[in-house]
Symmetry: C2
Subunit: 260 residues, 2 copies
Amino acid sequence: MNKLSLNYDRSRVPLYIQVASVMRQRIESGRWREGDKISTIEALETEFGVARVTIRQAIEILREEGLLDARQGRGTFVSGRPKEKHWLNLANDFDEVISSIKNNIIRIVHIEEEAPAPFLSENEGKPADGYTLLRSVQYSGDEPFAMVNLYLSRRLFLRERKRFTHLPALPRIVEMDDVVIRHAYQTVTIGVADPEIAELLKVGLGEPTADCRLVLVDDHDVAIYAADFHYHRNCFALRRDLLERPNAARSGVDRKNRAG
Amino acid sequence: MNKLSLNYDRSRVPLYIQVASVMRQRIESGRWREGDKISTIEALETEFGVARVTIRQAIEILREEGLLDARQGRGTFVSGRPKEKHWLNLANDFDEVISSIKNNIIRIVHIEEEAPAPFLSENEGKPADGYTLLRSVQYSGDEPFAMVNLYLSRRLFLRERKRFTHLPALPRIVEMDDVVIRHAYQTVTIGVADPEIAELLKVGLGEPTADCRLVLVDDHDVAIYAADFHYHRNCFALRRDLLERPNAARSGVDRKNRAG
DNA sequence: CTCAATTTGTTCGTATGTATG
DNA sequence: ACATACATACGAACAAATTGA
C-alpha cells in the first residue's frame, strides 16, 4: 500500500480533493508559476500514487477555478494565481487593534442579555459579576470575514446599551475614563467552523478558522471583555518584525502606566 | 435544500467527518464538559440539518476516540477530554525564538546543496547569491510537531556545513560576529498539508497547518535565512499580552542597535 | 408494576459520489 | 467510456433500554 492511501485512511477527505488542494498550494506558493507546464498526468499519477482518473478529477477542479489549463497533446499549464489571500493583517499592539477595529462594519446577529460567564483559562483573570453575550459578524464590503462572540461585562454593557449594540465595543471601552485595562491577553489558534460560524462566514462546516481570542483584564483582575474572533482562514495573516519594538501602551490605555 | 447541504457542496469533506470535527471542538473548548449529557440525536439532527445516520456516524468516531459515550435509552455523554493541545507556544521576541529553538531535536530529512532562491515577498529583502535547502522535522520526544523548509544563504552554510546539518541553524547564525541581522520578519498563516508534510507530521493530506515563516535580513538587505515552519495544528498557539512591551533586541542580535 | 414518553440502536431501500483498472 | 466495488447520505420504520408518572 502506498503512502497516499495511508494518508487517505487518516483523513477521509476524498482523494481527488486532497490532490487538488496540494496542487492549488503549489500554485499559491509559487512552486508552480504562471505559464509553467506542470508534470504529465502519468508523472503525477506516480508521485501521488493514485489512479489516472483521480488526477484528472483534481485537474478539473483547478480548471474550474481558472488555475490550470489542460491541452490535449501538449500538457497542462498554470493559467493563473488564486485570488489575493491573507489580506487581513492581525494587529500587533493594542493601539493598532483599536484603530483597525474602529471603523469596522459590524452586524449584531444575536444578543443574550444575561449570559453565563465565558470559559476563562488560568491567566485570564476572574469572571465579572455578569456578562452580556454579543454575537456579531464583521464585514469587508459585502463579504463577511469574521464572526465574533463577545462576552462583555454586564455593568459596562448597561452603561451604553445602544452604542454597544451597534458599534465595535473595544474603542468605546478604551475611551471610558474610569476603566483601567491592565492586560490585553491575545491567543491565536486554529479552530474549526461549527454550523453557526459556517453559515455566517459562508464557509464549509468543519473548515479551519483562525481563532483569535482577546481578553481584557482590569485593575481588579476582572475579565471585563472576552471575545473570540473567528476569522476566515483565507483572510488571516499575522506579520511582525521580531526585532522591532512595538509601541505597546502608547496611548492612555493603562492609566497606571501613564501616571508612572 | 437545507443550509448544510449547501455547505457540504462547498467543502467536499464527508459530512459526518465535519460534524465530528465540530463536536470534538465543542468538547475541547469546554462548551460540552466531561459528564455532560449532550443534545439528543434528534436535536443535533435539526441543528446540523443532516440525517440521523450522519449524526450517529459522527458520534461513533468520537466514541472510538473515547470522547463520547452513548447509552441506549439515556442519552449521549461526554466521557473524556482530548489529549493536551496547544502546548507549543510561539515565541514573541527574537531572543525567545532562539532560546526555545536551541535545544530542539531535529532530524534533517533532505538537503539540496544548490537550491533555487526561495520566493520572497516585497518586504523580505533581496535574494542572496545562492541558497542551500535544508528540510528537517522537529520532534518532541517521538512525536513530530513541525516540518521546516529552510533556505540558508549558501555562503553561511558552507562556513559550518557539519553544524548546520545537525543542529538548529538560528542560534549559530546569531552567534556569528560578522553577521548583522537587521530584521526578523515573521508571518503566521493557515496552510494545508501537502503529501510531504502529511507524511512527515503524520497527519492527513490537506489538513490545516500553522505556517510560520521567518526571514532574516542582514544589513545589506539580503535575506540570508528564510524558513517555513509547518506546525501541526494541534500543537500550535500564539499567546501574548498586547499591553506588555516585549524585549525585542535585548541581546546583541543587531549590533547596529546595540552600538547606537 | 405498568404505561407512556424519551432516547439510542438497527435495518431497509434508494440515490449519488468516489476510486480503481 | 465502461464495469465494478465501496463509501456517503437520506428518510423512514421498528427495536431495545431507560426514566418517571
